[in-house]
């Protein structure tokens, strides 16, 4: 095979990859700009006059707007809480020696594997008793089960890469551990903390199962709202796809920011 032909094939392969990864996303976005008759056209149309009516519709819809605000509140607060709780723990795991350290580490990480349905049942009953069903609080707390492991993992990795000499020097100057953590590890580990925060925001923003069973009307999150369109006979596909686009767009941008760390975030460092 000649070099040129290989190059062409390589290029064609890469274009195929792009089509594969982007097509469903493209189809959602383009459908969100179609009017109802274009949406229901059979066979589907690829070229059409775009309309912003669907977006006008959903932004006028209080329920859609409210659900996005709810998602924002829940995802932001649970992320803040995970970083607040997780970063110090990560520092301890990165720099201290103590008994049971590896067991503790494994316990943190294994929370990544647990199916949400296992916790959803008992948490539903507990929340019912404590009267916190349908509140932001219950989601903020339960989302820690998958956010804390991610923060602990990524931050431990990051803190380990900070030269220990800095810590030793600070200790000679009489700084205690808490000062060292605050003045050295937090500022120098900020990139890792930020990446872990972005991941926990993405995971919380995308979550459906807990939100579905633990909330009713007042704290409905965006994914729950989007699925609630799926009832009735004639579905408002334009609105559904516009809502989908509005939900997916911010997390996609976040994900592109941390794309270099995507594998680490999803596997918790199975591959370095």
């Amino acid at each position: 095979m000649s070099m040129t032909l290989r190059r062409v094939l390589h290029g064609a392969g890469l274009v195929a990859v792009l089509c594969f990864t982007l097509f469903p996303f493209y189809w959602m976005v383009s459908s969100s700009f179609k009017d109802q008759s274009d949406l229901l056209a059979s066979p589907p149309v690829w070229f059409f006059t775009p309309t912003l009516a669907n977006y006008a519709d959903i932004f006028a819809d209080e329920k859609v707007f409210g659900s996005i605000v709810n998602s924002m509140i829940v995802a932001t607060l649970t992320t803040a809480l995970s970083v607040l709780l997780g970063a110090p723990a990560a520092y301890a795991l990165a720099r201290f020696e103590f008994r049971g350290k590896s067991d503790l580490w494994f316990w943190f990480i294994s929370n990544r594997m647990i199916s949400p349905i296992v916790l959803a049942l008992p948490v539903y009953l507990l929340a019912l008793q404590l009267n916190i069903l349908d509140t932001h609080l219950v989601l903020i707390l339960i989302y820690l089960t998958f956010n804390l492991p991610i923060v602990v993992w990524i931050c431990t990795d990051q803190f380990r890469s900070i030269p220990i000499e800095l810590e030793q020097a600070a200790r000679l100057d009489g700084a205690d551990q808490f000062t060292i953590f605050r003045k050295i590890y937090v500022p120098l580990g900020l990139p890792g903390i930020a990446v872990s925060a972005i991941f926990s925001f993405i995971f919380s923003w995308n979550e459906l199962l807990y939100a579905l069973v633990l909330t009713r009307r007042s704290v409905q999150t965006a994914p729950v709202m989007a699925t609630s369109f799926m009832s009735g006979y004639e579905l408002p596909w334009g609105k559904i796809m516009a809502t989908g686009t509005v939900i997916v767009l911010p997390v996609t941008i976040f994900a592109l920011l941390v794309s270099r760390h995507m594998v680490r975030g999803l596997t918790m460092g199975a591959t370095k």
Binding site: L14, P44, L84, I109, L121, P223, L266, A270
Partner: protein, 300 residues
């Protein structure tokens, strides 16, 4: 104990690690362990919340016996396993193909673009993937049928037929998670030392030989990770399937998480659902132990 501490002279008090760890540990105990214990207790009770008058008496292992002799539960477990063996080969195969395309030198811009586009499926909200799936696989105006018609095979009622619905959710899962495999394979490929790869390329022009003898050893750890994480993720899989099919038609896409959710939150039989959840948890714990044993060796 005392002596080792003096010898290491760590420069911090005995209790210092505790203060750093306590908040996270207590939080996870409260939201991770306590609910599991409470599910365990519920699983030994007859606990239907639509019939509170009957009370919630302890019934020993009755729920477990019911679950283990329940055809539907085993069917949903079997279906979950079938889903796993259906999607994984595609994800691995496409994953390695994409990784090799991205690893190959040249065409820098296009390659960078393709690489970054892998993030898009992974970040797409799972529920929205389900919504997109319902539009793409719609019987009347779905683009999947348009495509089938174009290549001469007639369209089908994807979400209305058992096989069609199963294939449709499999395709959406393959779309969303192939990039995950591709990125892990790509990370493995980039671990091969450049000199070794260059030398091997001079020795042989065969791509398969290069893959098998030089690159494969670097891909294996990632492969283990994928097998275990994908199986755990498919046991967890709920959002996309729930939105696309709700487990139907019939029980054609009733994966285990969907099934337990229905028993718990549609039939409100919390006792049975908890027993099912505990069994699922046991499977998951075995998997995660395996994962940790195989992957995190270096930390121990």
């Amino acid at each position: 104990m005392e002596r080792t501490e003096t010898r290491l002279n760590p420069g911090y008090g005995r209790w210092t690690p505790f203060w750093f760890l306590a908040p996270a540990v207590f939080a996870l105990l409260g939201i991770g362990i306590y609910p599991v214990i409470s599910a365990l207790v519920t699983s030994f009770r007859r606990y239907n919340i639509t019939r509170p008058r009957e009370g919630f008496p302890f019934v020993g292992f009755e729920n477990y016996i019911n679950v283990l002799s329940d055809q539907t539960f085993w069917q949903s477990m079997g279906l979950t396993a079938r889903f796993f063996v259906t999607v994984l080969p595609f994800q691995l195969f496409f994953g390695i193909c994409i990784a090799l395309l991205l690893h190959r030198p040249g065409l820098g811009m296009l390659r960078a673009l393709a690489r970054i586009s892998l993030v898009v499926p992974l970040a797409t909200t799972y529920a929205v993937v389900g919504l997109i799936g319902r539009l793409i696989f719609n019987r009347d105006f779905g683009v999947a049928n348009q495509f089938l018609n174009a290549i001469g095979i007639g369209g089908m009622d994807w979400l209305g037929s058992p096989t069609g619905a199963f294939i449709a959710i499999a395709i959406m899962d393959i779309w969303q998670w192939t990039p995950f495999c591709a990125l892990i394979f790509l990370a493995g490929l980039s671990m091969v030392p450049v000199e070794i790869e260059e030398a091997a390329r001079l020795e042989t022009s065969s791509k398969t030989a290069l893959l098998r003898h030089v690159q494969l050893p670097y891909l294996l750890p990632g492969l283990t990770a994928m097998l275990i994480l994908r199986s755990a993720d498919i046991l967890k899989l709920f959002d996309m399937v729930f939105v696309m099919t709700r487990g139907g038609p019939g029980a054609a896409t009733d994966l285990v998480s969907i099934y337990i959710q229905r028993v718990g939150f549609r039939i409100f039989d919390m006792g049975t659902a908890s027993a099912q959840a505990i069994l699922l948890l046991i499977v998951t714990i075995v998997l995660s132990r395996l994962y940790i044993r195989l992957i995190y060796k270096e930390i121990e």
